[in-house]
């Protein structure tokens, strides 16, 4: 659907996007994740043809964005970071203008505009001037503009910024429902959003792609080993000895928990092995009562921090 090859964007000496390559397939929701200034918006602007790349190519449905811009742009609906709204127009006027720009046939125009306005729930606002709308509604009008014409690819740059929590959930549901007919790319620096909505995550840091996989796979990958945190009462050496005896256990750290009789223990295991029952029986046999047991799953947040911080560390060398 979309193929990005070796994309580079330089602003003077600063490299905003650094040899980025990825492919986007039909019917999925892709999430661009990265800290502020990672190059998410720049990449999206290049995919949509708003700015040109210094090197590399973007092709949409086989059409190069710079060589066949009109054909390529026809496949894309774009909501930039700041919704491109004309404040002197009413919502309906704006939607009509957007429909004309996208060359939607006259006979379909009216029904399509109504449909899209219903989808993002701005029908009540259709005769209001955009100038007088709140941030949340402006964002929705921008979103409606991106969906209008039902382009094959919908690109949303931080679509939920400025919305209240209820609106965020509504918009997320809307984005999920778009998946049936469209390919969606959204960018965000909010991790929960990406893990809630996206089928596939591309993590970008300093203009480079540092990881790309499904959210589940990413958690599994970064976890490497699953961890279990325990609080156990008993003899330190006995506990260590028996825990290491459990198959699948790789490493153990034991610290005295201040103010109690128990030991804080972190057990790391190999992937996809659940040792919680084994731990329970082993400790019970040896009369070492388990006071607390917690299986720790690595969240996307930790992966994100890990990946982007590693990058920081590398570049500071």
């Amino acid at each position: 659907m979309i193929e990005v090859k070796n994309l580079v964007k330089k602003y003077g000496d600063h490299t905003a996007v650094d040899h980025l390559s990825f492919q986007i397939e039909k019917g999925k929701i892709y999430g661009f994740l990265g800290p502020n200034g990672a190059g998410k918006s720049t990449t999206m602007n290049m995919i949509t043809g708003y700015i040109a790349s210094t090197e590399g190519t973007v092709s949409i449905d086989g059409h190069d964005i710079l060589e066949e811009p009109e054909k390529a742009k026809k496949c894309i609906g774009y909501l930039p970071e700041q919704p491109p709204l004309y404040f002197d127009m009413t919502v309906l006027e704006y939607m009509k203008f957007a429909a004309d720009l996208k060359k939607i046939p006259k006979d379909k125009k009216k029904s399509m505009i109504e449909e899209v306005m219903d989808m993002v729930k701005i029908t009540d606002m259709k005769n209001r001037l955009i100038k007088n709308l709140s941030k949340g509604y402006r964002q929705r009008v921008g979103l409606a503009q991106a969906i209008l014409g039902y382009p094959e690819v919908i690109i949303l740059d931080e679509p939920t910024v400025g919305l209240d929590p209820k609106q965020i959930i509504e918009i997320r549901d809307l984005i999920k429902s778009l998946k049936q007919k469209h390919t969606v790319i959204l960018s965000s620096h909010i991790l929960s959003e990406v893990s809630a909505v996206c089928d596939y995550v591309l993590i970008i840091s300093h203009g480079k792609l540092v990881a790309s996989d499904t959210p589940d796979n990413l958690s599994r990958l970064a976890a490497g080993a699953n961890n279990i945190n325990l609080l156990v009462k008993g003899e330190k050496d006995i506990i260590r000895q028996h825990l290491l005896g459990i198959p699948g256990v790789k490493d153990i750290t034991i610290d005295k928990k201040a103010g109690t009789e128990g030991w804080n223990i972190t057990v790391s295991t190999e992937e996809n092995i659940d040792i919680r029952e084994d731990v329970f029986y082993k400790m019970a046999e040896n009369h070492c009562p388990i006071l607390e047991m917690q299986s720790r799953k690595v969240s996307l947040e930790e992966i994100f921090l890990e990946l982007t911080e590693e990058e920081n560390y590398d570049s500071s060398l």
């Binding site: 602003y11 602007n45 949509t48 043809g49 708003y50 700015i51 040109a52 811009p69 009109e70 054909k71 742009k73 026809k74 894309i76 774009y78 930039p80 700041q82 491109p84 709204l85 004309y86 404040f87 002197d88 127009m89 006027e93 203008f97 957007a98 004309d100 720009l101 996208k102 060359k103 503009q145």
Partner: protein
């Protein structure tokens, strides 16, 4: 293109700027009309028009300043430039909307000679030739305004720059008289110009060899031409500056001459400005 055209036109006619522009042109026409035609009973309407060419210095910047500067500031250009419409069509749509707004006072101005004919003999031919010339002059000024507006994202800078440029063009006769018509001084001025151009090229591409080459080749050709035929340069600066003398080309129309040269001149100014505007928008994507 029609989408952009319709939007722009609506925006001019729902905000103050469009009406302000129309009001100002009509106000000045009214003042000059009452002074020349009603007071002195002078039968030539073209005289009125030629006296008020300065109106564009004030009106055009007001109308054109926001054309592209505002789009860039509000980031609405992201919508236009990512939609399946070519940059050329967007600019043409915007420009034609401006011309349409300008056509409103021009249509009203067309009635003036008719009113005058009620009170005596007037030559419609010369009067309407002047109206046509005035319209073309205005369109050329608007095109320059659009181009300036594409260079910046600040409306104020766009307005001031447009005013300065149009004022310089308006005063071109005076400016060109500052320069000597002698061959040697002309040649030296051109030499300095070539140097300036190569410095600009260097600041843009940061390549010393190419810009030095441009400079040296230019100066050598200049010197050679001067050696062979020094009279070639006589009055050269004036000839070059005359290209920018927009209102000067209106003189023939004001004298009732249907000047094909003038029409071609104004149309070329418009074409060049629209082309430069498109280039400046396209170029911005590469920065």
């Amino acid at each position: 293109m029609t989408a952009v055209y319709k939007r722009e036109l609506r925006s001019y006619l729902t905000s103050m700027t469009g009406y302000l522009f129309i009001f100002f042109i009509l106000l000045l026409t009214g003042i000059y009309f009452s002074a020349y035609q009603l007071d002195i009973a002078y039968p030539k309407f073209e005289y009125t028009l030629s006296a008020m060419t300065f109106v564009f210095l004030i009106c055009v910047p007001i109308l054109t300043m926001r054309t592209l500067a505002e789009e860039r500031k509000q980031k609405t250009d992201q919508l236009l430039l990512t939609s399946p419409v070519s940059v050329g069509k967007i600019i043409m749509g915007k420009y034609l909307a401006l011309v349409t707004v300008f056509a409103v006072p021009m249509a009203i101005i067309c009635f003036y000679p008719l009113v005058m004919s009620k009170f005596g003999d007037i030559s419609f031919g010369t009067a309407y030739t002047a109206v046509l010339g005035f319209f073309l002059l205005g369109c050329a000024n608007l095109a320059i305004g659009v181009f300036i507006s594409s260079l910046t994202e600040s409306q104020v800078i766009a307005a001031v720059l447009t005013f300065v440029l149009l004022f310089a063009f308006f005063m071109m006769n005076g400016i060109s008289s500052f320069f000597s018509e002698g061959s040697l001084s002309t040649c030296i001025t051109f030499g300095l110009l070539i140097l300036a151009v190569s410095i600009i090229i260097y600041s843009m591409i940061k390549n010393f060899v190419i810009s030095a080459l441009v400079c040296v080749i230019g100066e050598v050709i200049l010197a050679a031409v001067y050696m062979i035929n020094s009279s070639f340069f006589a009055g050269g600066i004036q000839k070059v500056l005359q290209i920018f003398n927009l209102s000067g080309h209106f003189d023939n129309f004001a004298n009732g001459i249907f000047d094909i040269n003038g029409i071609v001149y104004y149309l070329s100014v418009i074409a060049v400005c629209v082309f430069l505007t498109v280039q400046s928008i396209v170029k911005r994507r590469w920065n």
